[in-house]
């Protein structure tokens, strides 16, 4: 069986980077790590189809030896779809756990179907403040970029506004 060295190196890098990131505490990073490792496995499956060849369509002037093995490609497609679904679920989970971390115990009480106006208003307030969070984080990043160019020290400021 022949294999492309580029793909082998790419797979190794994805595996290494992905596993490293998966060991972090932050859930978002774990998700990114999972995506990298998932793609590394997909490339591993793809590598197993051997030397590249023609599209797997048999006709009079094409023999079975000339075409690529289509089965690993089918595997990879299935695995990609499964990874997509899992990623969507993980994103929802991460959002929910962020939401709970911000609200604490109260987070359990606020949900989409809540009809208590005060809580809904409170929740809206939080959404607004989360938009403000994004702005503040962006400012911090910009500021740290500038600082980084001047000195390698990091700012100790809190992220929250």
């Amino acid at each position: 069986m022949t294999a492309s060295l580029t793909l082998v190196v790419l797979m190794a890098v994805l595996f290494g980077a992905g596993i490293t990131i998966m060991l972090e505490r932050s859930l978002t990073r774990v998700l990114i790590g999972f995506l990298l490792v998932g793609n590394a496995v997909n490339i591993l499956i793809f590598l197993m189809s051997g030397a590249p060849g023609l599209a797997p369509l048999l006709s009079d002037d094409v023999t079975a030896d000339d075409i690529s093995d289509p089965v690993p490609q089918a595997f990879v497609l299935t695995a990609i779809v499964i990874n997509l679904g899992i990623t969507a679920f993980m994103l929802a989970l991460i959002y929910r756990s962020w939401w709970l971390a911000r609200l604490g115990e109260k987070g359990d009480l606020v949900d989409d179907e809540d009809d208590l106006e005060e809580e809904v208003e409170e929740a809206e307030g939080l959404i607004r403040s989360s938009a403000a969070d994004d702005l503040a984080i962006q400012e911090l990043i910009d500021a740290s970029d500038e600082e980084f160019e001047q000195s390698p020290e990091r700012p100790d400021e809190e992220v929250r506004p």
Binding site: F34, V41, I45, T78, L93, L100, D108
Partner: protein
């Protein structure tokens, strides 16, 4: 009628049912009717399949879309698959009725969302698909279907506690899936096929070292799913936080899907490569470490989760023996364990409703308050602990006899090892009995007014779990269907004893099919493997 028509239905019906119940999201009654009838239909189909397969002695094989193996996807129902289908369909149906009546009584406090029914049916479809997969990749798809649905069910309602528990469970499952997929890739690279029957022939032709690597990689993936020591750490942390019926079905079924996959790996796929010694050691350690964990738990849900891990060890022990009798006892034990563990978790759900807590320190006086509940807990507890004449005793006895018979010829590893594991198994069974009767003594026998400042050597060693904190609430009424379902499951565990003779014969015939891989290969490739 050709029984082959029925095989795809066991996966198709729950999937279609899931779609219908999703559309019917706002009509709870219609949802309940659809999911209950779908699971009942699958139970009937499985019973028919089991009867056909057992009577004819051959399995039922469907080549999906008419594509010949190894190019197409094969669905294989042999005796083992049919047994697993039937018992899981019965358990899934029972737990569904339990969950629905609990939801109706509580106005859907535990399962407040309309996605419970679709997720539950997709979980069922994944479990059934894993059992009939004749293809390693299809097995992976089955696992992913059931895992994705289980992520949703475990984090149902999205409370902080469940999200925390869910994250552990989901990450561990993801890692095991990545192992499984890598194993499939490497196996495909080595053999050029993912068809289980063809793999059985082609893997035997590989060098021993390559076989061993592929074998261990696959076992690693399945070991995490089956919660085998030392890959079992995630289970007691994640299962107890889910709603009671969800925990019951996870505990009963999901780990057994992993055990089923290990049985297939050991008997069909890797018939030459022998890791019996490893399996015996791991089986013994799983039993002991699991049950020692159970001893220190004050919360009954956590205690049961640890006994669940511990008793997986018996099945691994039976698989490790790799004899016909060992496998027969394992199959009987799997069936026994699915029903008894589900029954115990369902009873725990009833105790939680009735006593307002699941902690050994807070429950008391339940025997006077509800004698029925006391019986419903006591019978499966004795059963799990292996008291004669219950099925737990028969299963363990079968395993020990198989071990003792195999030991002199050192069938599965050195003789002293087999005897050590048998001793560990006997000790585990006694400690299980101790842990469960201690709970029974405290929760049922102790007087209500003894709870405050109660000091007993029985309780000195137990740990309070933060999750079980101040959950004590006012006693709620128990809806009749919940009691009926639990009673029915307890009755099934007793029936496993009453019909132990025929059942053990069936398990014996199943094991005879398994020890000879050519039976399975002949099913999928009637004309021989090319």
């Amino acid at each position: 009628m050709n029984p082959a028509i029925l095989v795809p239905l066991v996966v198709l019906l729950p999937l279609l049912g899931a779609a219908v119940t999703l559309v019917l999201g706002r009509h709870r009654r219609a949802q309940m009717a659809v999911s209950a009838s779908v699971l009942a239909a699958v139970a009937v189909i499985s019973a028919v399949l089991l009867a056909t397969v057992d009577a004819s002695g051959a399995g039922v094989v469907v080549q999906v879309g008419g594509w010949e193996p190894p190019f197409g996807i094969s669905l294989v129902v042999d005796r083992l698959a049919a047994i697993m289908l039937l018992i899981s369909a019965i358990v899934l149906l029972g737990v569904l009725v339990y969950a629905v009546s609990q939801g109706v009584a509580d106005r859907h406090r535990e399962t407040p969302v309309s996605i419970f029914h679709p997720a539950y049916l997709i979980l069922s479809a994944g479990v059934f698909n894993a059992f009939i997969a004749g293809d390693l990749f299809n097995l992976y798809v089955g696992f992913e279907i059931l895992l994705s649905a289980s992520y949703v069910l475990l984090t149902l309602g999205g409370t902080g506690e469940r999200i925390r528990a869910g994250v552990t469970y989901i990450l561990v499952s993801l890692v095991s899936s990545l192992f499984f997929l890598s194993a499939i890739a490497l196996i495909y690279g080595a053999t050029g096929t993912a068809n289980i029957a063809q793999l059985s022939v082609r893997i035997a032709e590989l060098p021993d070292s390559v076989q061993l690597i592929l074998h261990l990689l696959l076992l690693l993936a399945f070991g995490i799913k089956a919660a085998v020591f030392p890959l079992s750490f995630w289970l007691p942390d994640s299962y107890p936080t889910a709603p009671a019926p969800v925990t019951a079905v996870f505990a009963g079924l999901l780990t057994k899907v992993g055990v089923y996959a290990i049985i297939r790996t050991e008997t069909v796929i890797f018939q030459e490569s022998d890791v019996s010694t490893l399996l015996l050691v791991i089986g013994g350690l799983t039993m002991l470490v699991g049950i020692l964990g159970a001893l220190t738990q004050a919360d009954i849900k956590r205690l049961l989760s640890f006994t669940l891990v511990s008793h997986i060890g018996y099945m691994i022990f039976g698989i490790g023996l790799a004899t016909e009798l060992g496998l027969a006892a394992t199959i009987y034990y799997v069936v026994h364990h699915i029903t008894v563990q589900t029954a115990l978790f369902l009873t725990t759900g009833l105790i939680e409703r009735f006593g307002g807590s699941t902690s050994i320190n807070r429950l008391a006086g339940l025997l006077k308050a509800s004698p029925l509940l006391a019986i419903l807990f006591f019978i499966p507890a004795l059963n799990l602990g292996g008291i004669p004449p219950f099925s737990g005793f028969l299963g363990k006895l079968g395993l020990f006899i198989a071990g003792a018979e195999g030991a002199p010829e050192s069938v599965g590893g050195p003789a002293w090892l087999t005897w050590t594991v048998i001793a560990a198994g006997a000790a585990t069974s006694l400690i299980t009995l101790y842990a469960l009767t201690r709970f029974w003594n405290m929760a049922f026998w102790r007087d209500r007014d003894e709870v405050e400042g109660y000091d007993s050597p029985l309780l000195n060693s137990v740990l309070e779990w933060e999750g079980s904190g101040d959950t004590a609430v006012a006693t709620r009424t128990i809806p009749v269907p919940m009691v009926v379902v639990t009673t029915a499951l307890v009755a099934i565990t007793v029936l496993l004893t009453v019909f132990a003779g025929p059942l053990f014969d069936l398990a014996g015939r199943t094991a005879a099919d398994l020890v000879d891989p050519s039976v399975y290969i002949g099913l999928v490739f009637p004309g021989g493997v090319r």
